[in-house]
Symmetry: C2
Subunit: 204 residues, 2 copies
């Protein structure tokens, strides 16, 4: 096995338990876990509203920065012709590269697998699950909405996929982009955690 897999990136289908898995791994390995925290760091750098950044992280948008100027004023001078989404992408990349420099951690989402693809100390994981498993989880964790669970899953995954393709040029959920991909509905969330922790520990 390759040595020193200290940074774990987790990409995941909506509702597959990727975040829970990421948190449990970070907890077991006693290393930092980043997702919203990461967003807040980006927010501090850019002056954008964290809520907007959070949405933007999943939705590649055709809107230009100018359309957001009324809400977030005074930054058009530094951004040239960049769209808001492109600008955030650059900021996000920078934050993720800096976090990885700091040392071992778990990063969930945000195309971190692509951003850190040239570091040899990363383990890139993709978590997916069947529809029934994910539908049950999102209703249990996030409640009912007007949309059916099935529509919500499709909607969110399509956006993640489009966003990933837009910024990385790669296919979201293609085995070759990850060192390990796991079906959490078949393996179970605990087993996924155990497998990843085990790989990281054995790589020491």
């Amino acid at each position: 096995m390759e040595k020193n897999k200290n940074i774990i990136t987790i990409s995941r289908e909506f509702g597959s338990g990727g975040r829970s898995i990421g948190k449990a791994i970070a907890n077991e390995l006693q290393i930092p876990y980043y997702d919203k925290e990461l967003i807040m760091q980006v927010a501090k750098k850019t002056g954008f509203d964290p809520k907007y950044i959070e949405e933007q992280g999943e939705y590649a948008s055709g809107k230009t920065f100018l359309s957001y100027l009324s809400a977030f004023t005074g930054r058009s001078d530094v951004m040239g012709g960049m769209s808001a989404a492109d600008f955030l992408w650059v900021m996000q990349q920078q934050v993720i590269l800096e976090l990885a420099e700091k040392g071992p951690c778990v990063i969930v989402g945000r195309c971190a697998d692509y951003i850190l693809k040239d570091r040899s100390d990363c383990l890139h994981v993709f978590v997916h699950a069947d529809e029934a498993f994910r539908a049950e989880r999102i209703v249990r964790l996030y409640g009912q909405t007007e949309k059916s669970p099935k529509e919500r899953l499709k909607d969110k995954d399509t956006r993640r996929s489009v966003n990933y393709k837009h910024f990385t040029g790669r296919e979201w959920g293609k085995c070759q982009n990850y060192h390990l991909s796991l079906d959490s509905s078949v393996l179970g969330i605990d087993k996924c955690v155990e497998m990843i922790v085990n790989i990281v520990k054995e790589s020491k």
Copy 2:
């Protein structure tokens, strides 16, 4: 974890060690291993030359059965307008379904993941690896050829991908089609074997 994962299908990139992994798993679990043997069974059923079937398993062909009639005579009456490749696909499906009925086993290649997708007792695995790892392996195991190792890898994987798409309508190497996908160049072949054996044992 889901129970009774008794049948392991392994799809793999050329040179990634998928066959070695499959054999080692079958050996450790003391269950039958099928790839060439499977081909021979198909051959017996169809009367085709095993060598042709082996090639056909990887290369979706536009050639119709008639073009092979000179070599394999007397069967056009039972095949209607089917191409040779389509006919073999039907035979292969039947053999794989029958093997799965017989009990626990490891099946490498031949779109077995798709053919057995409706059985709940299967663990579907995809094995891939980076180019350098695969190039070194194919030269070591199969020797040099006129083509560069890189070309050989690309050629074979493209054919596998086209064949898979042709017969299954699905994308080859898409995480969601497998319960587990492993980068053998990062995890190592022994670790891949250990992980799969462990999952199968724990599912008992």
